[in-house]
Amino acid sequence: MAMFSFLDRERTIAHPGYNRWRIPTAALAIHLAIGQAYAFSVFNLPLSKQEGWKLSTIGWVFSIAIVFLGVSAALFGKWLERVGPRRAMFAAACCFSGGFLVGALGIRTHSFPLLLAGYGVLGGFGLGIGYISPVSTLIKWFPDRPGMATGMAIMGFGGGAMIASPLSVGLMNHFRTATSQGVAPTFVSLAILYFIFMMFGVFTVRLPREGWQPAGWTAPLTPPKLVTTANVEVNEAMRTPQFWLVWWVLCLNVTAGIGVIGQASPMIQEIFFKGNRPAAAAGFVALLSLANMTGRFGWASLSDVIGRKATYTTFFVLGMALYAFVPHTGQLQSVLLFVIAFVIILSMYGGGFSTVPAYLKDLFGTMQVGAIHGRLLTAWSAAGIFGPVLVNYIREYEIDHGVPKADAYSVTMYLMACLLLVGLICNLLVRPVDPKHYFTGEIEPDGRSAHPPLGGAIPGGVNA
């Protein structure tokens, strides 16, 4: 439709002199908005009070949204590479805001399935498409610092909850009446605000011209061992052991992180505060979200210097040491050491998310890195189910068998350290991709594959 021609890939090519540092702001506009998902829990109690739904039932809304984040990222990655980032960001804004509107209708009509379909399914599609929409564009604009660039965007996803949480609470206070908690009008307000906020990203995002490179930068003649100059098509990437090794690396890092995020607040209360300082425990959770956010930028930026494999090796080795150390902080009664350990752990949890797009770019090239990243995010969905189930089951088993509550955490921590050991082995097994998987067809000027792989000459290759 001509009305939407402004979304076309061809209309997003940057003019000469376009400043590439505007691209991270477009990415942040999307990620800061969709990062709201992490703050959905602020609606749990008000919805429970207003509608009489159980908290465990309301918890499904967030879980379904995260599942559909993974599903849509996997399904729409190739479409995104074809249509470009602007159309994808627009679709993400429509789905995400539409999810709020349908969810508001669900609340007004007291229909939980409609809330689930709105925020969980439609909103989940917005999360998935929005999450992957700026990744390959950022990598194209920042070939010299791909980790830092994608880290900045994904930091936004971690930081979105920091904006959404006080904003949602403020709006609910504003709309609250004697008979309503004000959730439905808050959903409508958020739909409008986030749509406007995300449109800024839609109109700001640009693709670099063909052959564009940062001023004064040339690709290194001898790139590091794992960095390829070739490209691998998304379906072909899934046939490589490297894809599945990185899938497990992400899944295990996230599983361990989710496992401790859920435990962090009850742990500090039961081990150190004996349940007397809920405000301090809330402060601890806030500090962890800050560590999660800054870790996303810091670790991804560091990976540009030390390499992706070394970065993940650091996550797993340092993570194992810290997970094993945490139970001892209880014995030492040192809140400070406990907090420091958790801050580092959470920074590495965030860093795991933000470093992975650059890892994929190193292994599979830039041609379809957004689509490959989308497929890899199924690891996140899997971890979202696996992590809490594993942790809760073990904890309940321990307590049922007479282990004191404060001690039951130790077993969880040691188990998470074991998961990180498996992740470390997967990471150490990552080798350069076999050249037989390289894409050998023509690549169109916009970076898309024009023809399927034919075999034969390999354009570029890995510096093994």
Partner: protein, 47 residues
């Protein structure tokens, strides 16, 4: 081959700089507002 890519004029360059600032303000103000709230909450741990 000489580089024939058109260079931006001074006016275009200053316009681009202004857009860059506005872009960072657009995401920076809400971002810092969120960080402020988290820092205030986080400080409660030491009280």
């Amino acid at each position: 081959m000489p580089d024939v890519t058109p260079r931006p004029t001074d006016a275009e360059a200053s316009g681009e700089a202004a857009k860059l600032w506005l872009s960072w303000l657009w995401v920076g103000i809400p971002g810092l507002w969120g960080v402020y709230h988290v820092v205030v909450d986080a400080l409660k741990i030491f009280k």
